[in-house]
Amino acid sequence: MSRKEEKMELALDLDVRARARNPKPRTAAADECTDGELLERIAGGDSEAFDVLYRRFVRPVFALAMRRLGDRGRAEDATQETFASIWRSAGSYKPERGPGAPWLYAVARNAIVDRTRARYEPPAEVPDEPSNDPGPPEEAERSWLAWRVHRAMQELPEHERPLLELAYWSGLSQSEIADFLNIPLGTVKTRTRSALSRLADALEELQ
């Protein structure tokens, strides 16, 4: 059997993926709002704005909850509690104090901390040697960085985001990605560079 024949034929359906992530048509206005503008609209009871904000942030919130709680069930609860808090307290967001993403991060962190406190933890024995694990300041810095990166990833077009996910988080080489997505290697390289550039733009905006 030739090498070509051995390759699995994978027909990537980007339209299916795009529809799955954005199942309902939305007005352009809400989609084009900044995070802060969405929060202001949510404060006025705008459910469409809430829908847009949810899709932008649900994966970063869930990732943060998983990182802090380490348990999918509790992370799901914390994510739902975060969005309930956003709906309830969007009115307390003050745009003059800064963009929406840090405010949302604080709301998510508080919901997750509440969930952490709810867990019974037996008293730990004092270790004999200092731990190499990151301390609270380092962990906070890492969480904030991950939050920004994950939020920025949500800004990437549907045909670019999977390339970075496969390269960075699934450990696939460029040629393996080309095989996996059934697209030419040249396209993988072009889209990957474009995705990194777009991500860099988005991260600069979120500084």
């Binding site: 990732a63 999918r72 990957t192």
Partner: protein, 205 residues
């Protein structure tokens, strides 16, 4: 452990220094951030807004004149019926499975059947949920069908099922393997008293 991507391989070596530094910062932040987990089905759709809004609405009400109470009750019953039917339809349609791509299968010589495997995103436990749809797989009086991911001569089972004859068979399966290491999929027929694995009936080759 996941292989760390090579920056030069990703962006090439022909970038201006300033652009290269900018992309390298994004590259390093991606590495430091770590993966975003796939969402569980319960978080695929926002529900909080609706729930909260209805909770708020519960506290804002007005007593109706008595003559309108009957009409209001009828309206409430109609809304409840619509909500029930709507919820049923939505629940029936949205089963938490989001296909990322699909792989067609065809019958081997002498087998007039075809199939499609839909593959969802891998979950945090390493499972790839699959939806398998086949037409023309005969019902077996005894025995069953089994689907495998293949890698050369190796086979990795993804589950077993029965045939549906002329009707379309739809079944949920799962692959707890690195799919990118596979080179195809097959469905075989397992019959009692016969060697295992049995003859291949569907393949992607």
């Amino acid at each position: 452990m996941t292989r760390e991507p090579n920056f030069e391989e990703l962006v090439g070596e022909d970038l201006p220094a300033e652009e290269e530094a900018r992309l390298r910062r994004a590259h390093e932040m991606l590495l430091a951030a770590g993966p975003m987990p796939e969402l569980p089905p319960s978080l695929e759709e926002p529900t909080t807004g609706e729930r909260e809004r209805s909770r708020q609405n519960e506290n804002v009400y007005q007593l109706l004149p008595r003559r309108r109470a009957g009409a209001a009750l009828a309206l409430a019953a109609a809304i409840a019926l619509i909500a029930f039917v709507g919820g049923y339809v939505v629940g029936f349609r949205h089963d938490g499975f989001t296909a990322q791509y699909s792989v067609p299968m065809h019958g081997v010589a002498g087998v007039d059947a075809s199939a499609k495997i839909q593959i969802a995103s891998r979950d945090a436990n390493g499972n790839w949920p699959l939806k398998f749809e086949a037409r023309g797989l005969p019902k077996l009086k005894s025995g069953f069908y089994e689907m495998f991911l293949t890698h050369g001569k190796q086979r990795f089972t993804c589950g077993t099922f029965g045939g549906a004859g002329a009707k379309t068979l739809k079944v949920r399966l799962n692959a707890p393997y690195e799919l990118q290491r596979g080179d195809g999929w097959i469905v075989v027929k397992e019959l009692p008293g016969h060697p295992v694995p049995g003859p291949t009936v569907l393949t992607t080759a």
